[in-house]
Amino acid sequence: WAQFIPPYTEDCRTDMYPPKGPTFKGAVSWYTVDLDLPPSKRWTSVITDKKKDLDNMIQAIRDLANAFVPSGRLVELVDITLPLMVNTLPNPFKDEIKGIAADSGIHLGEIILFNIFYEVFTV
């Protein structure tokens, strides 16, 4: 039983596992992150597989930023200012983020934004 007005509560679901049906969109791939590698190399296998999806997601954020500031200045601001702060981030996070930017070909400022998004989102 479900109600068709917000908040669309429904009876507690049962027998949903193993995951199937319309609420299950897919399984998740496994990757190994080797902590013995230099931080800048740890994410190469993940990013090699996912860089297209990563760029798509960041493009959605760029589009949103440009919707607010059509001149593109907001994206420019991210690309110019955030790289200036990368060296204030502690290692290994600093070098891992730089490595991801290099592997993905996505601007360092935008990878930094993605990684500090939790703090930025409160704005």
Binding site: Y17, F24, M57
Partner: protein
Amino acid sequence: CTSVVAEDAKGNLFHGRNLDFGLFLGWDAKNKSWTVSEKLKPLVVNLDFKRNNQTVFKSTSFAGYVGMLTGIKPYLFSLTMNERFSLDGGYIGILEWILGKRDGMWMSFLTRSVLENATSYEEAKFHLAQTKLLAPAYFILGGNQTGQGCIITRSRVFTIDTFEIDLKLGRWYVLETNYDHWKEPLFLDDRRTPAMKCMNLTKQTNISLQTLYDVLSTKPILNKLTTYTTLMQVSKGTLESYIRDCPNPCMPW
């Protein structure tokens, strides 16, 4: 987000979470979905962090994100993080950081460090409670012994509250969405009441990873922001996750 740590009648601890993200970051009217949430789903990955070819911890994350929001240190503890809203929020932390006051830690860097370096539930709890942050948060921590399950409610500087499983009080699970557990949730976003109703209906005798997945699949605990569900069992060292969808009608949050 919704995170639960529950203990069954035999003392097994189960940790489950829905990761909800992307609120107000672009609504796709045609598909009735949030743009960024949908773009995050293909990025969901399970990660096995190894050192000397030994698993140090496992996590569910988004490719490109080096911090941790969901993870397990096999046989030791499990950890998830839910967002906490506060006027004294992350933007103040970022401002302090820019102005050179850098004694706080970025939230997801702390969770990553705890998963990587802590060697017990108690040590993890200590660091999550004591380390200064740039933004407030809830940390939901599960252990490997009976009673080891807690919600740590953090401001940027202090631990405001630690809410633990207490079997003597009949509290066999702790559950967190995005509101302080001693306050009513925002009436427009009450996922706590339906979640607790389903947990109570399941009962301690029937709780398992399977029935925890059922709870996390019930609307509005499952909503348009939900990108993935992760289930963890510390005693077995297992982590499994599934990308989610919420068929209409479904709450936007």
